[in-house]
């Protein structure tokens, strides 16, 4: 008997996503739950997939890792959820039982990636499985769909009992915890200056979180006017438009030649470079001399003060040519990683419930699921002042 179907956003290749009719997911393991999606966002890291930067994608894969919705089915061993619960689903799939999960390192879960052997061959070890983010990262169908199968359902999803809107809580799935962990990894102390490259959604939450963690000054770096305005308006950030100014010179001017105490790279593999690197990085990637455009990483290493901290929430996929000699000789601390989302869910939900932050400030577009192909293109091209897209199945 053929299964019921649903609409889902599927990857078909470079800049080619479509809404397809696919089988509805079903319970496979006893700790699974099925969630009917009410809101699901397009993440900046989805654009790495959209632009075909991430290895081991397969045509037809269901995208999406920022979903929320209502629990409609649970496996026999699910204890913390009931049918009808309203939940936000973290993008990291974590078992909750392995040594890494017990240390709170949920994105390093030992058990959730069914394709761990492939990841191990490419990276030495396998991180956690992720929703909708390549077969190397598990091959799990994503949440830009009408329904989602959620493995280890007692460990990931957080119940939302209050009447907060989907727009206010949806970003607990990824970008709010990701921005927060980026700021936490920046080791911010009183009177510190923090520079944040990239004022997309993760950058915006990193800027907000840096403020929450006590940064005296936050400098936001981008070239998109509305994104710089948002950083200035919502977090009182000073701004640098890298298309108009030399970032190093301006940061040295702002910090009396010391450099920012902490630098956050919220851009990752697809950085737009300027100058010679801006020309050579794409060529090197095309001829397979490197896998990433590490322009921001290079600039952050150069700008960061001696003994400072570099935090990297931006996604990189492989080999990147960076000046590690400068990082070593300047004694920088570098912290990175996919977000341990489950660790941050309760405390960050509390900040939303307390009114300390309203994450819906980043939303620029809210459209039906059918509009996904146009919305990917709009978000990718930064047209129509697009900062964050929510899709509603």
């Amino acid at each position: 008997m053929s299964r019921e179907t649903m609409e889902a956003v599927c990857w078909h290749g470079d800049r080619d996503v479509r809404v397809d009719e696919v089988p509805r997911p079903e319970i496979v393991n006893p700790t699974d739950a099925i969630v009917e999606i009410t809101a699901t966002a397009i993440c900046g890291s989805d654009l790495h997939l959209y632009n075909d930067r991430v290895p081991s994608m397969r045509e037809g894969d269901v995208l999406g890792h920022e979903p929320m919705g209502e629990v409609v089915e649970i496996g026999d061993e699910v204890e913390n959820l009931e049918i009808g619960d309203r939940v936000v689903v973290p993008f990291t799939i974590s078992c909750g039982e392995c040594w890494f999960c017990e240390q709170g390192l949920y994105s390093l879960c030992d058990n959730s990636n069914p394709n761990a052997e492939i990841a191990r061959k490419m990276m030495g070890h396998s991180p956690a499985g992720l929703f909708g983010y390549s077969h190397m990262m598990g091959g799990y169908a994503g949440g830009q769909a009408e329904y989602l199968r959620v493995p280890y359902a007692d460990v990931g999803p957080i119940k939302i009992d209050s009447d907060l809107s989907d727009e206010q809580v949806l970003f607990l799935s990824d970008i709010f915890p990701t921005g927060y962990m980026a700021a936490e990894n920046a080791d911010i102390e009183e009177n510190d200056t923090v520079a944040v490259w990239g004022c997309g959604p993760v950058g915006q939450f990193a800027i907000q979180s840096a403020r929450m963690l006590g940064a005296e000054r936050v400098v936001a770096i981008d070239r998109v006017p509305e994104r710089l305005e948002m950083a200035s308006e919502h977090a009182d950030a000073e701004t640098i438009d890298y298309a108009d100014e030399d970032v190093y010179d301006r940061l040295m001017e702002l910090t009396g030649g010391r450099g920012p105490d902490s630098c956050i790279d919220a851009v990752g593999t697809d950085a737009h470079g300027v100058g010679l690197d801006g020309v050579t990085d794409p060529v090197k990637r095309d001829v397979k001399l490197q896998d990433d455009h590490p322009y921001v990483l290079r600039e952050a290493i150069k700008c960061c003060r001696k003994g400072g901290t570099l935090s990297v929430p931006g996604v990189y996929v492989g080999r990147a040519n960076v000046p590690f000699g400068a990082a070593m000789n300047k004694a920088l601390t570098i912290k990175t990683g996919q977000t341990h989302v489950q660790r941050y869910l309760d405390p960050l939900l509390e900040t939303i419930e307390d009114g300390e932050i309203d994450p819906s400030f980043v939303v620029s577009h809210e459209e039906p699921l059918d509009a996904a192909p146009e919305m990917y293109e709009t978000f990718n091209d930064k047209d129509d002042d697009c900062i964050k897209v929510i899709l509603t199945p």
């Binding site: 393991n29 269901v62 039982e97 040594w99 058990n111 052997e117 061959k121 077969h135 169908a141």
Partner: protein, 257 residues
């Protein structure tokens, strides 16, 4: 003299017959192993292609490699069919493949040992490539499916190992694809549980070509042990094995390409 000669001829004849019988048995065993290896290889290829994922591709590669080794062993022109077993055996030994892989599991050794000595656990770890069923106390039947409804099957016995928690399986039948399979358990440092080390001596016949294939495709043979240990660890720590079986995509249902 003549009687002596007759006796001598008779003794020689009996010795030759015994040797010929031994050679035939051992040759048959080698043949079975080749057929078994081809079957395992074929099963892996079919399974891998059916899954149509990167994991499936890895399985298919393993299968293709094993099949190639087996077929090469069957048709290799420099193999003299009249060669004695004592000559052939070292070649088999030379071509055997030892897999050794370790994993750290957040459970005590005795619990892991009990779990792994259960035929159902073994079957869940080995599926869909190998089916394992209990045939009595400490005995299991291992079956590898092959295309065209053929299969290779053999009995393995759980035997005493050096340490109390360690496990060791020895094949009872000549058609077995492994001579010995063992899992050793030792305490991990700190609070990290137990280090489980799997050693598997696969004995597919082969050749220098097969050996060079191992070296070129070093990713592939080790994958057998790595994948098995991943599945065992997940089962021990969480009670389930992660899967994308029935995964939806625009290609249809299941873990498809």
């Amino acid at each position: 003299m003549s009687a002596d000669a007759v006796d001598s001829e008779g003794e020689t004849s009996a010795a030759e017959t015994a040797a010929a019988n031994r050679e035939r048995r051992e040759s048959d065993a080698g043949q079975w192993r080749r057929v078994g290896t081809a079957a395992l290889g074929g099963a892996l290829v079919v399974t891998g292609l059916r899954r149509r994922s990167l994991g499936g591709t890895a399985i298919a590669l393993v299968g293709g490699w094993l099949s190639a080794r087996a077929v090469w062993g069957l048709v290799r022109p420099d193999r003299d069919p009249s060669a004695s077993a004592s000559q052939a055996e070292p070649e088999l030994d030379d071509d055997s493949l030892t897999i050794a892989e370790s994993v750290t599991v957040a459970k005590p050794a005795d619990e892991l040992s009990e779990l792994l000595s259960d035929a159902e656990t073994l079957s869940r770890i080995a599926e869909p490539v190998v089916e394992i069923e209990s045939t009595g106390e400490d005995r299991q039947r291992w079956t590898v499916g092959a295309p065209l409804d053929r299969s290779v099957s053999w009995e393995a016995e759980l035997t005493a190992a050096d340490a109390a928690a360690d496990l060791r399986w020895e094949s009872v039948d000549e058609s077995a694809l492994f001579d010995e399979l063992s899992v050793e358990f030792r305490e991990a440092p700190g609070d990290r549980g137990t280090i489980a080390t799997l050693r598997l001596e696969l004995d597919p016949p082969g050749s220098e070509l097969g050996r060079s294939a191992i070296e070129r495709l070093d990713v592939v043979p080790e994958s057998l042990g790595g994948v098995a240990l991943d599945r065992f660890k997940s089962l021990a720590e969480t009670g389930e094995i992660p899967t994308t079986e029935a995964n939806p995509s625009a290609r249809g249902e299941g873990d498809l390409v």
